[in-house]
Symmetry: C2
Subunit: 305 residues, 2 copies
């Protein structure tokens, strides 16, 4: 893994990755900032508490992809002047809730006013074993994800485009976008083995494209990591299952590559932690994202799509 | 100086201060987040480059007040969808410019979309000598500021309320809000001596009130630290000079208290660095902000005033 910074303390930084990793004294620390805005991220029906909590997940998920354990969270909150103190308290309660789920606290922040609700989180984490970046994979490495995809895609279709869903599926889908989780425990195990890693905040396709850019190679995906209920639903509806599998977003799964020789050890250690990694393909030399031999179209969920 | 955190690593945190100070391995690090929004902070006539630069100053000034030296800067930028790539580049150029002025870099960040321009900065600094907080002053300590006040108050009056200014004064006033500076060098010297410190981002009066709350005492101010040109101008206009001295904001001066016994040493060391600290009063037991014996009225510049 080649990680060259602008100075001898910088391990990962701008242009190379979304998070910044720095050596401070004897440890390697990862810093991540991510903003949520009302127009892009406060989904219909979402509580301010869940909005606050999700800001933590967004940031901690990026730490997870680097193999870092969260140490603390800070927040800068911009609110419209008409908002009440209880709105503020709900958001802070959600932030505290998210931070506490990972054994951490909200340790400081800033409050200002503006024309739109904006919550920027800062997560600071420490690398416990090994810093992992987006680059470093080699052709032949195996491609894994930490779980199944599709629920968030359904939730966005339901909330933003009015797609009707069966009650039970709607509940699971909404929960996936209102109450996501960050794969910290998984990230720490994965960091011992992975040649590259990213989280799926921008969806499987776009995340694979980022990995592909960073390592200058590509992927052959052979298996759709699709949630079973989602698969049944889209098959009934005549929707191509590639859509919910590749073009969702905010699943906050980890997508990672591992050298073949150590993949079994990694699988075993993850299973011992109660996690079932899903082998979905492998790294190829060609800089393309293929599914069963065919190149996937561009697109996918993005703020700037 | 009593600094008790929620865990043994937390030295300053939420509810006690705006920045968070943490022990990481052997060093003490200060983390600060601050947001600028278009509606509150992009002043009329201000370039996007200066807007980007000012985000660095806001954050580095908070580090200065703690006696920390900046290590690096990160940013989370929310832009409206109609903005161009060159808008983005201008902001980033300004951030880089500000960071470089203090020997640092922009090392990472996040870009998203929203309904209002929002730039949240994260500054990370390291305490070189001694961590200073807002609390710790004792009655009898001397009260200092790092320079004169008034120009930013004039600039806000000029830009936001149309107050006419002589050309030369207008230029100085505008420069004070478009191109502020953070007192890092000063803060490091001050940290060796100060019993408490804050920056004047919210104006002298409100900053003194914060110090007063944090240390549970008050201040008797005997001298107005007013810029000479501003003093002449407001006297001619019949404006009470208390206004521009106490109720401006974003001067980014340091306001600090020092025990009498070591004040001369501090003054000498600051002068050796080319800085002239201004003695403006002292700490009193009563929790009030007095100017020449009279209590100052509440108010002052604030986002939520």
């Amino acid at each position: 893994m080649e990680i060259v910074g602008r100075d001898d303390k910088e391990l990962l930084g701008i242009g190379r990755d979304d998070a910044s990793a720095r050596r401070l004294d004897d440890g390697i620390y990862v810093f991540n900032v991510d903003s949520l805005t009302e127009s892009s991220d406060l989904l219909p029906g979402m509580s301010l508490r869940d909005f606050g909590r999700k800001a933590v997940i967004f940031n901690y998920s990026d730490l997870a992809a680097k193999g870092a354990e969260p140490l603390f969270f800070m927040a800068s909150l911009t609110m419209e002047r008409w908002r009440s103190v209880s709105d503020f308290e709900e958001i802070v309660r959600g932030i505290e809730e998210g931070a506490n789920e990972y054994g951490t606290h909200l340790v400081g922040g800033d409050l200002g006013s503006g024309n739109e609700l904006n919550l920027t989180g800062l997560a600071v984490g420490k690398v416990t074993h090994r810093l992992v970046s987006r680059s470093g994979s080699k052709p032949g490495d195996l491609l894994y994800v930490t779980g199944s995809f599709g629920l968030t895609w359904l939730a966005f279709k339901h909330l933003l485009e009015g797609m009707e869903l069966p009650k039970r599926l709607a509940k699971r889908a909404l929960n996936s976008v209102y109450r996501p989780v960050a794969r910290i425990k998984e990230g720490i195990v994965i960091s011992k083995y992975a040649s590259s890693c990213i989280d799926s905040s921008d969806g499987l396709y776009r995340s694979l494209r980022e990995l592909s850019r960073a390592s200058n190679n590509g992927f052959m995906v052979n298996k759709l990591p699709l949630d079973e209920d989602v698969l049944k639903f889209v098959e009934k509806k005549g929707i191509n299952p590639i859509e919910p599998a590749f073009y969702g977003g905010e699943e906050f799964h980890l997508i990672f590559t591992v050298e073949r020789e150590i993949a079994a050890d990694m699988e075993k250690e993850l299973r011992d932690e109660g996690v079932s990694p899903v082998l979905i393909g492998e790294v190829i030399k060609e800089r393309k994202i293929l599914y069963k031999g065919e190149e996937l179209p561009s697109g996918g969920w993005s703020h700037f799509s």
